[in-house]
């Protein structure tokens, strides 16, 4: 039972770190792409939407190539550490926050942007006000990214190494127990993972309810 709590805690910690590191650069980019009507912004948005479906195992492979002994970052000895998982999950979370965040900004009333110009709002304040105005949609984007990180297996399996107490997440623990033939434990862990997903989705539903209430 302790093992389950440990794996759950690691899963949450790694996912939160991944979403935070992805969101910091992704949100300003989402606002810029969302407010811009240029062709370049449209192309970048299509790229971000495509990258939302980036295979998790491919993200793991990319990180593996970077941090394995002969990779460019091999000297940092990051392979089989939580940091390596975070690096891979940032790759998964980033396009989600960009694409869904930009969609939320584009969904704002077209008068919003003109109003900011008319009031002389520029720079960082313009960015923050846009995030505020698109708040519920932005929260949805971040929660969707979090859900993807919590449930992914590819990165954690390839670069995590499933080390107990360090990189054993819920998904890698399920994979391990299943391969060991301990089906009951695997199902048990699966239920915990589902419970986490339910909590995230309840939050998601709650945030989109806030969106309609704020009109």
């Amino acid at each position: 039972m302790n093992d389950v709590a440990e794996a759950t805690g690691l899963t949450l910690a790694i996912s939160v770190a991944s979403v935070v590191f992805a969101t910091i650069p992704a949100l300003p980019l989402a606002v810029a792409l969302g407010l811009s009507r240029s062709r370049a912004a449209d192309v970048a948005l299509v790229a971000a939407r495509t990258a939302m479906a980036f295979p998790t195992v491919l993200a793991g492979l990319v990180v593996y190539g970077m941090v394995s002994r002969h990779g460019p970052l091999g000297s940092l000895e990051l392979l089989y550490t939580p940091s390596a998982i975070v690096a891979g999950e940032v790759m998964l979370a980033f396009p989600l926050v960009v694409a869904l965040g930009a969609s939320a900004v584009r969904g704002l009333d077209p008068r919003f942007e003109e109003t900011l110009r008319g009031l002389g709002v520029t720079g960082v304040r313009r960015m923050l006000l846009t995030v505020r105005e698109a708040g519920p949609g932005v929260v949805t984007a971040i929660l969707a990214a979090f859900a993807r990180c919590v449930t992914e297996l590819g990165v954690a399996l390839l670069v995590g190494g499933n080390l107990k107490g360090s990189t054993r997440t819920l998904t890698t623990a399920i994979a391990l127990e299943t391969s060991r033939g301990d089906f009951d434990r695997a199902v048990h862990l699966g239920c915990v993972l589902l419970a986490v997903a339910v909590v995230v989705n309840v939050l998601l539903a709650w945030s989109s309810r806030g969106r309609s209430a704020a009109r």
């Binding site: 008068r111 919003f112 003109e114 110009r117 008319g118 009031l119 709002v121």
Partner: protein
């Protein structure tokens, strides 16, 4: 001292039409009403003067705006209020100009009171009538004490209380130059002396 000059300028619309803007030379304290049918470039003229025209739609001629952008205020025909309280909305342009929080609150309340909208301060945009939104937007425009005020059919949804309050606010600001657009007169509350300019000679 001149607030804005528009000289033999034309604008091009997305559909390729080109419309000549009226000749304008606006002195401080002048109240100009631009009258013309829809699609004759009235709104575009105001957006050029307010420097919020999205792309640069100007072809030929010159638009000279010696007034700083921070001293220009624009009120749209259907103003948009941001999520948040009415008071917060009116404080927004002051925040953008670096006014400290305490002073912001006082000035925003004063501007709302001037437009007869102080009772709306704690409300949000939810459930406000068009006339109330218009009054809040006028307070949001006047709160920065601009030198050039641009009104895009601002009277269209303004109720009588609002029109009277606007007339008083304009009387109290002798140096404020106002350019208002309207499909036909009047674009200003009764009792405000105006110069009428016609828009809409199509140049091509």
């Amino acid at each position: 001292m001149i607030v804005a000059v528009v000289s033999s300028a034309s604008v091009r619309f997305d559909d390729g039409r080109t419309v000549r803007l009226p000749e304008l030379r606006i002195a401080p304290g002048e109240r100009v009403v631009v009258v013309g049918r829809n699609g004759t470039g009235k709104s575009t003229l105001l957006r050029v003067l307010a420097r919020i025209a999205v792309a640069d739609p100007l072809v030929g001629g010159t638009v000279d705006l010696p007034t700083a952008a921070a001293d220009t205020a624009f009120v749209a025909a259907r103003p948009y209020l941001l999520r948040g309280t009415v008071l917060w909305n009116v404080e927004l342009p002051l925040a953008a100009r670096g006014v400290p929080r305490a002073a912001r609150r006082v000035r925003a309340m004063a501007a709302l009171a001037e437009m007869g909208a102080e009772s709306l301060a704690a409300r949000t945009r939810v459930g406000l009538s068009d006339g109330e939104v218009q009054r809040v937007a006028l307070a949001r425009a006047l709160v920065t004490e601009p030198r050039l005020l641009l009104l895009d059919e601002a009277l269209a949804s303004l109720d009588e209380v609002g029109a009277t309050a606007l007339a008083a606010a304009l009387r109290a600001r002798e140096d404020l130059a106002v350019v208002a657009a309207a499909p036909a007169e009047p674009a200003m509350p009764p009792g405000v002396k105006v110069r009428v300019v016609r828009s809409g000679e199509t140049s091509s």
